[in-house]
């Protein structure tokens, strides 16, 4: 690191927890030395507040040991106002912060003074930041800093990734080169599948069936991390673990929905070595120091090999010994997927989707932030922005569109001339029309779009636990609750009491089984590379060494139907429960299979087949309808499907959710701030209405362009449907059988069924409405009116 200390940018790749963070600070400590000048020298950015605080402790020890007069401070949303003020007036030598706090600092008028003299930036967990818009925002901020401090040097620290040069282009100032230092990856992990006496269930996640085996492993190891893919699954697992924990092994839980106090308690106990195991989610993926972890258990298929490798690295990371990891498949499909993932880990075959260019909603926010700090010159800002790796291919026209959006709303109808957000001064510089807008911009900084969440609190005025914050649930989940419903929160069962002032009030429940637990965490889709490995695995001349129950199941599928193949799409048709069923095996990942469900049911609606609903997994989409699909080509026609994106796909809820995210980041709509939304609910309306209105009257608007771009990736996964159609070129295996096939059976048990709002559903609505009216005796009252006036043709 020291040999390369004068490089303008440098990237260090080392396996999880290889001590790389301290290495990143070495050049700074050497430069600061025994007699540092006052002022900010090094800025450290990490994706987690906790990581910044952790790093302050880790840095302070060597600095004190060496007796260096170097001031190290951290700054985040949790830092007190007084300390934040003091930091702006008199910055420390080393400031540890997050991308959002940095963006906020850059929005202040005194930003040039705060950052004067800054020499170095260290970006930690770069691989994680680069996966989201937070990374794009950070790179724009670094460009801003680079303009203020031309000699600024960057160091990026990353865990093992599949394409280091791409990540280097992301972090380096364009077009400067970026040297990549690869640390010794260490020995291969000791990784295997956790086998159990009971075979895994047919569907679902969570791995509850393996509680005894997991407890046994915990007992045999010093400290075990038990990773789950979603918060809800972590909650259920933790609860069941405790019910079975006869020896009372100290086990904690840690995930992002828990209240800060709860999380801190677990972290402290972990560091003190008081816990034998922690049930956790992605919130522990990043490099916090967790002491002597000697086993990692991944519950459920990891969906993505790179993430699995990074998680495995959590075990034994301080020693040059192999990390020990066990994967627990949560259901029958995942047995195959876990096997494929383990093969990929041992083959060092990492996966990942190539990054697209920097998103424009983030750029819009950056333009606003820039205007808050000082009037700016558009040419200079364009040059600065294209110096950021993710925006190096941005065109001037795209930049101008964003500037126009920020200034005027960017509507074809120029309605807001009087109210422009940015105005051009006589000298050509752009400034905020109303300086008071700066406050609002600052409140909206950041690119993390939380699904709207509500706090959960223990009800009551007295008693030890009264008013205690427990965590958060999604607003949609809270809205579905009726008093008396029970769910899991922080490992305990709570009963929903009421929704008060936008807080969910609960009480403790003595029951053993919660009624619901559906607040969702992140939903990952199985990566393209892993899907290909699974298809490949199914077609080996000799099936690999899988448990007997799984082998039998695969063989039965081959007998009854076909095994899905890489170059073809398998479609099965059968009747079940007096409904026609169609199962499409696209292996395109859950998000894309879900989108495929929306698209295919639309085609079916047009063909009059009466689709009623569908459900999707990473491998397949199961659709039920009134009539059968007789020719799958009719519903899987590539051209028609592609047209679909422009037309009706635009109408679905996922698209609207993407729009809401982009609109919030770009500053079209203001975030729901606490306390701001409780008043007059009929006055607020949903962003869906804005989306529909824009589509109707201004279809080329910038935000719709952004929404469409995002539809190709992420939640909608249209890019992967495209990939699937290209891969299979219209080659379809259509199997018509008289029974539910072995591979389709688990889909019937899958949660997350999506209703189709077509003619079929409208008929159901009518039936249900009629039933309710009949039951309540109100129907007679209405019938008189209807008879008296005849039908609607009489309105003229």
């Amino acid at each position: 690191m020291l040999a390369r200390a004068l490089d303008p940018s440098l990237m260090l790749i080392a396996p999880t927890g290889g001590g790389k963070t301290l290495a990143g600070f070495l050049p700074s400590l050497v430069e600061l030395g025994a007699d540092p000048e006052p002022g900010l020298h090094t800025l450290y950015i990490s994706p987690l507040k906790a990581l910044a605080a952790d790093m302050r402790r880790n840095l302070t020890t060597p600095i004190n040991d060496l007796g260096l007069p170097i001031r190290v401070e951290d700054r985040s949303g949790d830092t007190s106002q007084t300390r934040k003020k003091a930091q702006r007036a008199d910055p420390p030598h080393i400031l540890l912060t997050t991308p959002e706090s940095l963006a906020l600092l850059l929005s202040y008028e005194d930003a040039p003074r705060i950052f004067a003299g800054l020499k170095r930036v260290v970006v930690d967990e770069l691989h994680a930041l680069a996966e989201s818009k937070r990374g794009d925002q950070l790179m724009l901020c670094l460009s801003r800093l680079q303009a203020m401090c031309p000699g600024l040097r960057r160091i990026g620290l990353s865990a093992t990734v599949e394409d280091p040069p791409a990540l280097a282009r992301f972090v380096a100032p364009h077009p400067a080169p970026c040297h990549i230092v690869q640390a010794d990856p260490g020995p291969d992990p000791d990784i295997g599948m956790l086998t159990t006496d009971t075979p895994p269930p047919w569907s679902g996640g969570g791995g509850r069936y393996a509680i005894p085996e997991v407890l046994q492993q915990v007992a045999q190891h010093k400290t075990t991390l038990i990773f789950h893919n979603t918060r809800a699954q972590a909650e259920i697992f933790f609860h069941e673990l405790w019910l079975a924990n006869a020896d009372g092994l100290p086990i904690g839980i840690h995930h992002g929905s828990l209240a800060l106090e709860q999380r801190k308690k677990v972290e402290a106990a972990m560091v003190a070595g008081q816990l034998r195991a922690v049930v956790c989610t992605g919130s522990l993926d990043l490099g916090l120091d967790w002491g002597d972890v000697d086993l990692v258990i991944q519950v459920g298929a990891p969906k993505n090999v790179k993430r699995l490798v990074q998680r495995i690295g959590r075990a034994n990371h301080r020693y040059n010994a192999p990390s020990k990891a066990l994967i627990l498949p949560a259901n029958r499909w995942e047995v195959i997927e876990c096997h494929a993932a383990i093969e990929a880990v041992l083959a060092h075959d990492l996966d990942g989707d190539p990054r697209g260019p920097g998103p424009l909603d983030v750029l819009c926010q950056h333009i606003l932030i820039t205007a808050c700090a000082a009037p700016f010159d558009a040419d200079a800002l364009f040059k600065e922005v294209t110096g950021a790796g993710p925006y190096r291919t941005l065109t001037r026209a795209q930049f101008d569109d964003c500037l126009d959006f920020v200034a005027t709303g960017g509507y074809a109808l120029r309605a807001y001339d009087r109210w422009q957000r940015l105005m051009q001064r006589d000298d050509g510089l752009w400034r905020l029309r109303d300086p008071r807008l700066a406050q609002q911009v600052r409140m909206n900084i950041g690119t993390i779009i939380d699904t709207d969440t509500l706090k959960v609190r223990m009800k009551g005025r007295s008693g030890a636990s009264a008013g205690k914050p427990l965590g958060e649930v999604e607003e949609s989940f809270a809205a579905s609750l009726v008093p008396g419903d029970t769910f899991l929160m922080g490992g305990q069962i709570v009963r929903f009491e009421s929704l008060r002032e936008m807080e969910v009030q609960v009480s403790r429940d003595r029951g053993r089984k919660p009624k619901l637990a559906v607040f969702s965490g992140t939903k990952f889709a199985t990566s393209t590379q892993l899907s290909v490995r699974i298809l490949d695995l199914l077609h080996r001349p000799a099936l690999p060494n899988l448990p007997r129950h799984t082998l039998d199941w695969i063989r039965l599928q081959a007998q009854v139907s076909h095994l899905p193949r890489t170059g073809r799409i398998l479609v099965e048709s059968f009747d079940h429960d007096e409904r026609a069923h169609t199962c499409i095996y696209g292996f395109a990942g859950k998000n894309a299979q879900q989108t495929l469900g929306l698209m295919v049911t639309r085609q079916m609606e047009e063909l009059g087949l009466g689709p009623l609903g569908f459900v999707a997994t990473d491998y397949a989409t199961l659709i039920w309808s009134v009539a059968h699909v007789t020719d799958p080509m009719q519903v899987l026609n590539a051209d028609q499907l592609q047209d679909g994106l422009e037309g009706w796909l635009a109408d679905n809820a996922l698209m609207k959710r993407s729009f809401k995210g982009a609109a919030t980041i770009a500053g079209l709509i203001t975030r729901n701030l606490p306390g701001k939304r409780s008043s007059g609910r009929q006055a607020t309306f949903s962003s869906d209405i804005l989306y529909d209105t824009l589509r109707k009257y201004d279809p080329d608007h910038l935000l719709l362009q952004i929404t469409r771009t995002e539809a190709m990736r992420g939640l909608i996964g249209f890019g992967r449907i495209d990939e699937m159609l290209t891969r299979t070129q219209g080659r379809i295996d259509h199997v018509v059988t008289d029974q539910v096939t072995p591979f389709a059976a688990p889909l019937f048990l899958e949660v997350g069924k999506v209703p189709v709002n077509g003619a079929g559903r409208e008929a159901l609505l009518q039936a249900e409405a009629d039933r309710l009216m009949e039951q309540s005796g109100l129907a007679t009252l209405i019938a008189t009116g209807q008879n008296a006036d005849g039908n609607a043709d009489g309105i003229r």
Partner: protein, 221 residues
């Protein structure tokens, strides 16, 4: 073909149109509530947020459609027709002309609402309430009133179906009163199970979900 929901209220035959407008065939009277015209202009003025400025033309487009179907001779705008009085003044020229065109040749009544409590610079009649025997039209429902048509609350209702949920703006009806859904494009809704609405409506009230055709259900509480 327009499919409406026919019902008898105060011995009067009425119909809720799919759009949420109320049609009184005997008087050829069309009533719409809470248009909130000029809402995006008021929002930018107050908060700086620049929402798509198309909601007034969308609302007027739907109103024009309903007028074409019914050929109403009387139109009652049941209050909160404008998001505030300044928004009424600041409407773009094209939309002012559009409103004037819709009004031409019709008896047009602007009922005052809490958002637009004073007269606006449009023709027609400005009233706090309209008594059109046997019905009374006012913006906000009054305790103890009967034969009353009002708006204000933007009621909406939810219905749980097998494998999904439907939530739509709705009209609430009981023996004493009718509460109309908001007609304006940028309007949210207040769920019928909110105390404000369940306290107002009798036990046997029904909610009629807007849409084609409108669907009556027992009012969810």
């Amino acid at each position: 073909m327009t499919q409406g929901f026919h019902f008898t209220f105060a011995a009067t035959q009425l119909m809720l149109l799919p759009s949420g407008a109320l049609w009184w065939p005997d008087r050829t009277l069309l009533c719409v509530s809470d248009l909130h015209l000029g809402k995006s202009e008021r929002i930018v003025r107050r908060s700086g947020d620049m929402l798509p400025p198309y909601e007034s033309r969308d609302t007027l487009g739907r109103l024009e459609e309903d007028l074409r179907h019914t050929n109403a001779s009387t139109v009652v705008c049941l209050g909160d027709s404008f998001d505030d009085l300044l928004a009424a003044q600041n409407l773009p020229e094209a939309e002012i002309l559009w409103i004037t065109r819709l009004m031409a040749g019709r008896r047009w009544i602007w009922i005052e609402g809490n958002h637009d409590p004073g007269p606006v610079e449009f023709g027609g009649t400005h009233l706090a309430e309209l008594h059109e025997t046997p019905l009374t039209f006012r913006h906000i429902a009054q305790d103890g009133a009967t034969n009353e048509i009002s708006g204000h609350y933007h009621p909406k209702a939810r219905l749980q179906l097998r494998g999904g949920r439907v939530s739509r703006p709705c009209m609430l009806v009981d023996a004493n009163r009718v509460i109309l859904p908001a007609y304006g494009t940028y309007t949210g809704g207040l769920r019928s199970d909110d105390a404000a609405l369940s306290d107002l409506m009798r036990e046997d009230a029904i909610a009629v979900l807007t849409g084609s055709p409108p669907r009556p259900i027992p009012m969810p509480r």
